[in-house]
Symmetry: C2
Subunit: 226 residues, 2 copies
């Protein structure tokens, strides 16, 4: 499948590498490819500069959001949640229309300090805002409840014996996403329901952040025992 991954942070890079290794044709999208390549220092969360990663992954092209989305059959939103609507706007509605839009972002708001809060929250989710802003895209929320390493390689923890959620209004789109998740090694894919159920998945972030701190590792995940 032709997959565009919007966002060049740890999540975007890790998913790009994983989908490419599975044989998909992957393109990464960013606001300004030249600026992304030009950065030399670590990014806001301490990841090495994109150019360093790309020197080892030259088979994955980097393009502007709209160019990346235009050529893809499926688009992944791996941008910073606070900027996702803007990034998807740059990708343009027409390039998202009819396509599965896999949203793995979290609407974390660091403007009031640490820990971040969620915005939106409770009566709304970022996934719903994205679906509302791009009504012709087929939005599926998933993977936002674990770190990038586990998104792409769940088998590295407890042989993959933990859970991942999908939320969305389009059953076929959820099937497509579930197929990709299975190919990555996800064994327990739980369909939470329509796109409003993404509220629940996004609202797991505060406990996730506390667990990260108290466990001293981000390599953990939720398993729904039943």
């Amino acid at each position: 499948m032709k997959i565009a991954i919007l966002g060049t942070g740890t999540v975007g890079r890790t998913l790009a590498g994983a989908f490419s290794a599975l044989g998909h044709t992957v393109v990464l999208g960013t606001r300004d490819p030249q600026a992304t390549f030009a950065r030399t220092g670590p990014n806001a969360v301490g990841a090495p500069p994109f150019s360093e990663w790309h020197s080892r992954n030259q088979h994955i092209p980097l393009e502007a959001f709209a160019d990346a989305a235009a050529q893809a059959e499926l688009v992944v939103n791996a941008t910073d949640g606070a900027r996702s609507l803007s990034a998807l706007g740059s990708a343009r509605s027409a390039n998202l229309a009819g396509k599965v839009l896999m949203d793995v972002s979290n609407p974390l708001d660091f403007s009031q300090g640490m820990p971040p809060v969620l915005n939106p929250v409770n009566t709304e989710s970022l996934a719903e805002r994205i679906q509302g802003a791009f009504p012709d895209a087929r939005v599926v929320k998933t993977l936002n409840t674990m770190n990038a390493g586990l998104m792409a390689d769940p088998g590295r923890l407890a042989d993959g014996d933990h859970s991942v959620f999908v939320s969305g209004d389009d059953p076929e789109a959820k099937q497509t996403v579930a197929g990709l998740l299975e190919a990555l090694g996800h064994r327990d894919i739980i369909d939470l329901g329509d796109i409003t159920s993404a509220r629940g998945a996004e609202m797991m972030l505060p406990v996730w952040l506390r667990l990260w701190s108290t466990l001293g590792t981000a390599d953990f995940n939720f398993k729904i025992v039943r």
Copy 2:
């Protein structure tokens, strides 16, 4: 230990029975014992009337909130989250001072229809409001992320191989609560941190409610795989 459980719904009844079976001296608290005994129909969530349960559990007395709390060493808040501050006010600050106050409630707000939303949420939690309103109580948030049956008997699901959280400012109070949880059969007790970490535990409710619906059972729980 002398334990007062405030709230006579399914959670209060179930915890009362379980702590009593462990040898603790348990008293249930309610706003108006006569009115609680007088009800004949099922309650708001379809549980049989209290009098029916009590006819099989006559060793557990029912008293007014303040009388129940006054004689206890540890108090459990098992009241409806929307009314917890009022119930605890009726129990009186002096009867809570210095005591461990185990808060198992959830601030679910059904006033806008289904699904309920959380109030407070995100930048505040009900546990924090309780700690703020009763500064001399030693509040520990716990057990709010599972159904009553699993709170009291975690071993009935997957031999107890799932997780429970504690949040609170007082390390000794958390130790006391952890001891009670262990006695009930909880095997993986995770200390999330101070009382503000209860935001994370309370914000798991929306996904819990969706899972209840999608799994068709409330007999499930979160396990933190690491």
